[in-house]
């Protein structure tokens, strides 16, 4: 019996060695596995970052990325090329991919240079820092962090993204479109309250900010409650 086990182990080892040698050509890393993603999301390629619609995903919060990947796979957020790539992936793999991108530390592009009128700047800064209680809009910074670099684990940072992308997201929520309007949560409700002029001004303002600081780690209990659906959704999968 012992001999039998030994023989089995021996063959097993042989097998591993053989496998190892053929695999050694291809790095056994997440970086290699997500080449299908980085063909578009070339975070760190600053010419691309500025000229295209592809949002940066490197360094974003893991929980947020995981939620988005599930949305794309399950048709709640729409971008066909990504839906096709993610179609037959398990939650476990999506989590691993989210973790991989969240841990990347790639330099951010320099801000876009867009001229903003002073009344636009005022309007935006007020929404960002104070919100608009009359329309039940909290300060953006209350959720997205004082630095606007996000709030662990589910609220993303808003800096370092192309203005065209930001406009499309906020308008998507506002109009309930396929791109991003299929999910109702605290953010879609806020975006519905914004006017298109405000959306454009905010997107341009955000894209012109220098990227600095870290993600925040505290969210007030009433805002947690307000974003309950996102927190529950994330926890259910842990």
């Amino acid at each position: 019996m012992k001999l039998f086990i030994l023989i089995i182990l021996f063959f097993f080892a042989l097998n591993v060695i053989a496998e190892g040698s053929s695999r050694s050509i291809v790095p056994d890393t997440m970086t290699e596995r997500v080449r299908a993603c980085t063909i578009c999301h070339q975070d760190g390629d600053h010419d691309q970052a500025r000229s295209t619609y592809y949002p940066r995903i490197a360094g974003k919060l893991e929980g947020y990325l995981f939620n988005q990947l599930r949305h794309f796979r399950d048709g709640r957020r729409y971008h066909q090329p990504m839906a096709l790539l993610l179609e037959n992936m398990s939650d476990d793999y999506l989590q691993a991919i989210a973790r991989h991108f969240s841990q990347l530390n790639v330099p951010y592009p320099s801000p876009e240079s867009i001229d903003l009128k002073s009344n636009e700047i005022q309007l935006v800064e007020k929404l960002i820092r104070l919100g608009d209680p009359q329309r039940n809009i909290p300060a953006c910074s209350a959720c997205h962090g004082d630095t606007l670099m996000g709030n662990t684990p589910y609220i993303p940072g808003l800096l370092g993204l192309p203005s065209a992308y930001l406009t499309a997201q906020l308008s998507g929520w506002r109009s309930g479109s396929l791109i991003r309007g299929q999910v109702t949560n605290c953010m879609s409700e806020i975006a519905k309250q914004l006017s298109y002029d405000e959306i454009i001004a905010i997107s341009r303002w955000l894209a012109t900010q220098a990227v600095e600081g870290e993600a925040q780690k505290v969210l007030s209990p009433d805002l947690i409650k307000r974003c309950q659906s996102i927190f529950l959704e994330g926890v259910a999968q842990e």
Binding site: R33, L84, N88, D92
Partner: protein, 424 residues
């Protein structure tokens, strides 16, 4: 195949006894003559069989509640909406009896007598034994009831007409459970039972005619209804026949999604992810034994390709440049690939299929093999539709179909255009 059925219809008493023994050891099934509520073992068996039939895959909306229906199935005849099959009394099948359920699976009739559309693969499920259908029913009645009303099918005239469906059934639906072939082994019969019945491989792997009926003998190839994919023939060495493969290679491909000969992609990747990866080792093996035994029915003799004209050679040279720049890094200098990671393109049937649809889809959309227990973190192929123009995609596709010993027709811009769209 269920041993109950097999033993009643075949003369192999001894094999049968053995089969029973194995069956008892494997599933620990108890026969309850005065059968009452199903035990845990029965439910586990029922759950397993729903995996084999992939009821979950079709009867769950994307990101939706399991078995509550609402998945849209686009076909050439319109869009079907799968029903709720949880035991909810109002919106599901909670008030169904086992007999009602049997009639749906076996005869394709709903509880109210309505003829069901063959988008529900009862054309294959009719081969499933009564005992297996009962297990599935017991399991489905044991899960949580979910109240969910799904939208109606969107089937335009004339396909929504009762007489048409009636006529279709008369012509093309052959009702009846699987009959074992006594000249074949028990394992082979089990494989045939699974492939032709619950596994419903024919639902895709068969050419269909204008009214959605299968064109020829089981498991020939054909463009899938609605989905823009070509399901290759399991009867042709040039397509998806695995006659020349080792059993191990067949098992590896169908349970993990990758092998040194090929990868599964598109709808087949979904089948592996949702169903085949969960098949028991015995059932996967039985299926492999059966698939390997299928004869090569290729009628066409080896096509002789004439010497290429200069213009075609120039076209391919363009393709070669694109290959070197964008593809070679993964698929290798001579299209050799890396086994289990990046598929070889040389000597790959998926690349040289007469219908170049799947190849074009791969280049336009990229893709990942399915995540499975055996291959939980697959490597992926990037999409190129945002990077290459249609003429470039046609060139590189033509090149890989005619490099390293591959030989197949050239791909045109029109082909590339037809490869776009579709729901998969």
């Amino acid at each position: 195949m269920s041993p109950y059925y097999f033993c009643f219809t075949s003369g192999f008493a001894r094999k049968c006894a053995l089969g029973y023994l194995v069956f008892f050891v494997l599933f620990g099934v108890q026969i309850n003559l005065i059968s009452a509520a199903p035990g845990e073992q029965d439910l586990a068996r029922g759950e397993y069989l729903t995996r084999v039939g992939n009821c979950l895959g079709c009867h769950t909306a994307k990101g939706g509640v399991p078995f509550a229906g609402g998945r849209r199935l686009s076909t050439a005849f319109g869009t079907f909406m799968t029903p709720n099959i949880t035991p909810d009394k109002e919106t599901g099948i909670g008030h169904w009896t086992e007999e009602d359920f049997w009639l749906a699976m076996h005869e394709g009739k709903s509880r109210d007598g309505r003829m069901l559309y063959p988008a529900f693969p009862y054309t294959e499920f009719t081969k499933v034994s009564r005992a297996d259908v009962k297990s599935i029913f017991q399991y489905l009645q044991s899960i949580a009831a979910v109240s969910q009303v799904n939208p109606a099918h969107e089937i335009p005239f004339p396909y929504n007409s009762k007489p048409l469906l009636f006529g279709w059934r008369k012509l093309f639906f052959k009702q009846g459970i699987y009959e074992a072939d006594p000249t074949q082994s028990e394992e082979w019969n089990r494989g045939a039972y699974l492939v032709q019945g619950l596994g419903h491989c024919d639902a895709c792997h068969t050419a269909r005619n204008e009214v959605g009926a299968k064109k020829d003998a089981a498991v020939g190839g054909g463009q899938m209804m609605g989905a823009n994919w070509y399901a290759p023939s399991l009867y042709s060495r040039k397509e998806a026949s695995v006659t020349d493969w080792s059993l191990e290679a067949i098992i590896e491909l169908l349970s993990s999604g990758v092998s040194k000969h090929a990868n599964v992609s598109g709808p087949m990747a979904t089948v592996v992810q949702q169903s085949l990866q969960y098949w028991s080792p015995q059932d996967i093996r039985a299926m492999a034994v059966y698939l390997k035994s299928l004869p090569d029915k290729t009628t066409q003799e080896n096509v002789r390709y004439p010497e290429m004209p200069e213009s075609a050679k120039r076209y391919l040279a363009q393709g070669e440049k694109i290959y070197e720049k964008y593809c070679q890094d993964c698929h290798g200098e001579v299209g050799q690939g890396v086994p289990g990671i990046y598929p070889a393109l040389a000597n790959n049937r998926g690349v040289t299929l007469p219908v170049p649809l799947n190849l074009i889809r791969a280049v336009l959309n990229g893709g990942y093999p399915p995540t499975t227990h055996l291959n939980p973190q697959p490597y992926g192929m990037p999409p190129f539709q945002q990077l290459l123009r249609d003429d470039e995609i046609a060139q590189v596709s033509s090149y890989i179909r005619n490099a390293w010993g591959n030989r197949a027709g050239l791909v045109t811009i029109v082909d590339v255009d037809q490869g776009r769209g579709g729901n998969h």
